[in-house]
């Protein structure tokens, strides 16, 4: 790198540092985590470990299409394993400013049901991740405060605007300063105790985009944790909007699901 350019980028980041607000960090973090590219596909290996160390493994594919950046999104979640739930599929229309729409298809009952969870903080298919952890919590739902800036991280302290709708009192996030990927989040309960911790275990650059390829959610209260591994991630596949409709729940797009 030429000395001039180096100087320029240092200067630029210095200006940015001085100017960036907590809300901007939160927005960028949401963008880096959930809105990379226009769409994406990820194979997921979910390993649920309980307090006793008993493991359950699930394999699924997640398709995503952004309607607009930091705005509406659509997800299609398809189960491969275990065998008795294979071809079970979820469809989520995420509305950051309102309640999400969720549909569930159960092939053994040939049944499509809308899941009207009153909040998104219910378990994602029995794992320690919540729906909201998978689809992303909107940065506008909390008040953010930049409590610390270290060499590598912005540390945000976030408190909910509607405390009644969530189980946490606050959470603290360590966000990487260059990638804006959250590498750790600690959720605190009303007693100020950390009861739930998210960690990004592995970050790889895929198609030029820094991507978390292994993450973990631990439950300190009950014990146990879930690890998500993403062995194959792709971006900008040109996924069509009609894939994300009820019709495709019953007729899965097999070529896209690696089947």
């Amino acid at each position: 790198m030429k000395p001039f350019l180096l100087l320029f980028s240092l200067l630029a980041s210095a200006i940015q540092l001085s100017a960036i607000t907590a809300q901007e960090v939160a927005n960028k973090a949401a963008e880096a985590s959930y809105y990379k590219g226009d769409d994406g596909r990820a194979q997921v290996e979910m390993r649920i470990t309980d307090r006793q160390g008993r493991e359950r493994v699930r394999e699924l594919t997640i398709l995503r299409r952004d309607v607009e950046d930091l705005g509406d999104q659509k997800f299609y979640v398809f189960f491969h394993r275990p065998a008795d739930v294979s071809e079970t599929a979820f469809l989520v229309w995420k509305h950051p400013d309102g309640q999400d729409d969720r549909w569930l298809y159960l092939p053994a009952l040939d049944l499509v049901r809308r899941i009207a969870a009153s909040d998104e903080r219910t378990s994602f298919v029995g794992s320690h991740f919540y729906y909201e952890d998978v689809s992303g919590r909107s940065p506008t739902e909390d008040h953010h405060e930049l409590v610390e800036t270290t060499d590598n991280y912005y540390v945000l302290q976030s408190t909910p605007k509607e405390p009644d709708s969530v189980e946490f009192a606050s959470y603290k996030t360590w966000i990487h300063r260059t990638t804006f990927l959250p590498v750790k989040t600690e959720y605190l309960n009303a007693q100020g105790k950390v009861y739930r911790t998210y960690q990004a275990l592995k970050v790889e650059t895929i198609e030029g985009i820094p991507t978390v390829t292994e993450s973990k959610m631990a439950d300190q209260e009950r014990g146990g944790s879930t690890t998500l591994r993403y062995p194959r991630v792709q971006y900008n596949l040109g996924l069509e909007d009609e894939l994300f409709t009820e019709r495709f729940l019953r007729n899965p797009p097999r070529e896209l699901l690696g089947q």
Partner: protein, 784 residues
Amino acid sequence: MNSLVNLAIRRPRLVTGVSALLTLSMLLLATLPSVFPERFPALHGVQVDTDPENMLSHDNPARVLHREEKAEFELYEQIVLGVVNDENPQGVFNAQTLDNVYRLTEFAKTLDGVVAPEIIAPSTVDNIEQAGLGAVSFSWLMPKPPETDAEALAVRDAMLRLPMMRGAIVDDAGKSLMLFIPITSKDQSYRISRALMDEIETFERSGGEKYHITGLPVANDTFGVQMFLQMAISAPIAMGLIFLLMLYFFKRLTLIVSPMLVALMSVVITMGALIATGNTVHIMSSMIPIFIMPIAVLDAVHILSEFYDRYPKLQDKRATIRAVMSELWWPMFFTTVTTVAGFASLMMTPIPPVRVFGGFIALGVMVAWVLTVTFVPAYLTFLPEKSLQNFGHRHEGDDDEATGVLRLIASLAGHRPRAILVCSLVLLGVAGYGISRIQINDNPVKWFEPSHRIRVADAVLNERFSGTYPAYLLLDAGQENAFKDPALLEALNGLQAHLEQNANVGKTTSITGVVQTVYREMMEGDEAYFRIPGSSRAVAQTLLTYESSHRPGDLFHFVTPTYDKAVVWLQLNSGDNREMSSVVAAANAYLQAHPLPGQVQHDWFGLTYINVIWQEKMVAGMLGSLLSSFAVVLVLMMVLFRSPLWGLLAMVPLTLTIALIYGVIGLVGKDYDMPVAVLSSLSLGLAVDYAIHFLARSRELQRQRGSWAATLPAMFTEPGRAIARNIIVIGIGFTPLILAPLVPYQTVGVLISAILLVAGLVTLLILPSILTLFEKRFFPENRA
């Protein structure tokens, strides 16, 4: 007569000093590490153990299973908290009460020892319902307190729709609530329940709003706290009453101090040894003082009684002591050995706390004997001769309180021996019938009086809800995914329906309840779909849907994640072991007739079940130890009297006493429970004591007087009075226990008094009658 007694008379200071020193050092050995545990880390302080589970040894298979399966299914012991309101037409489902319930739940979450994420309360559980056409909703049932009474009713209606909650958390009438607060350890439950009660006190309650706390752990832990109060109050009151009675009989305060000191020192040394050796103060071992006291006083009363009667004749204290001790030496030695044998036999039972109990009482009785033959004579020699002026029973045949009755007994035995024996045989027959009707049963909650708040809570909640007593039926199919198979789940439904027909089973809950509820809500809430879906895949997908709720982990309180094992939760409305046993029998019979598909093994766990296991061991163990100590005592009696015939005769009063006591227990319908079982050893020990004293003295007097006719009236002077005084002193001395707030102590109080009375009367009536009737057999020398 023995060198020990001589030593005591010659060196009273030495004997007294050694006794005092020994007592003091045992006292310090036990109290110092209890008060200053950090300064005496090598010594054992007082350790309290109120867990009935410890009636079984740690490695008992039932306990091991209980422990392992609780861990595997992440089940906890629970505090049961009921909220009722009989005044409000909506019951507890009004805004004010639900607000309190919400706050109480939040408060409980903050308490140490509470497993916060597993609390079951309206604000911590999910409501599963269909939300419009083709939609299923998982939402917190009561995410925040309702603001209006109408909203409170909506919470009620939602709960009543969920089969898992109906009867368990909300009563069928929709008026009351029950919260389950899981705890990490049973010994925390008293503290936690106190904290909850204190918090409840701060609430502004709606009219008629009442709270009840119960559950086996609370009962056990509360019992432990009250047990100490009991030891601190009842035992000293009993001691005080014995003291007053002795004062009444023997007049001289200085004199009767000695038996009291013997009892006190025996108790201190025994309990000191118990604590210093690291044994726990358990429900059983807490009763040791109450058992040692009468036994310790008993021999000393014989000595004092004799001393009181003889001193006026001899007018010399040392000579009187020698005469008394020489006459009483062998009877006292043998009564001690037999009592020790009775209690030591408990060491053969398979129940660790009973072994400790028996062993240390045996030790205490030996200590009491040593003190009686050394300390009491030494103490008597200290008394100035002058202070004994006008002491005692000056004229034989003087009117003593007992004498009138004793004369009557003597004449009955002398003139109506046949009638007495016939009466005894009739009573024995009645007793036999009573024994055949004995109900073996126990329930740790019933260790409290009916008016105790735990008993009240127990009654109120078990009347309204499915039950506060948990038991778990473990099913092991030995094959992964077995519990997703509709055939097995249907069979499980059948088993549960059968179990619920039992009057004591309020409710059963298992994985089938989850599957059926979710399936119904998937099918737009149509009751017709409250069933198991038709394939394993359909079951698996229904369960996957449930896993999208707030508490997916609840599933694994019913099945293992591999679905090879499952648990059926039973809520019983009675903690009586008898009821639990009948449920186990019903389940076994059903499973025999309708085997579950596949190779499903079953077993039981849960506290209510554990209680049954230790009770079974207790009953069998007690019977074994009673029979073995009976045999040992019989042999001892044959040796003591150097005659099999006299040995058998000595067994008559105790046999009749035990038969009568247990016969009455059977007739009046009192449950054969823990204290009743333990008292068989005490009755054996005490009843044989009277027989030994009576027979030993009879033979001696007979030798002196040459004929039974001359002996009989004499037997009812000094010796008869000694026995009568014993009966009165100890029998009445234990009546204060009846006032105890804890039922086992009441039982012990009533039974000790009854045993002494019956054993005494039987001894005084039957033994002379038999001797009168069969004089020539027992006194062959009189044949001439």
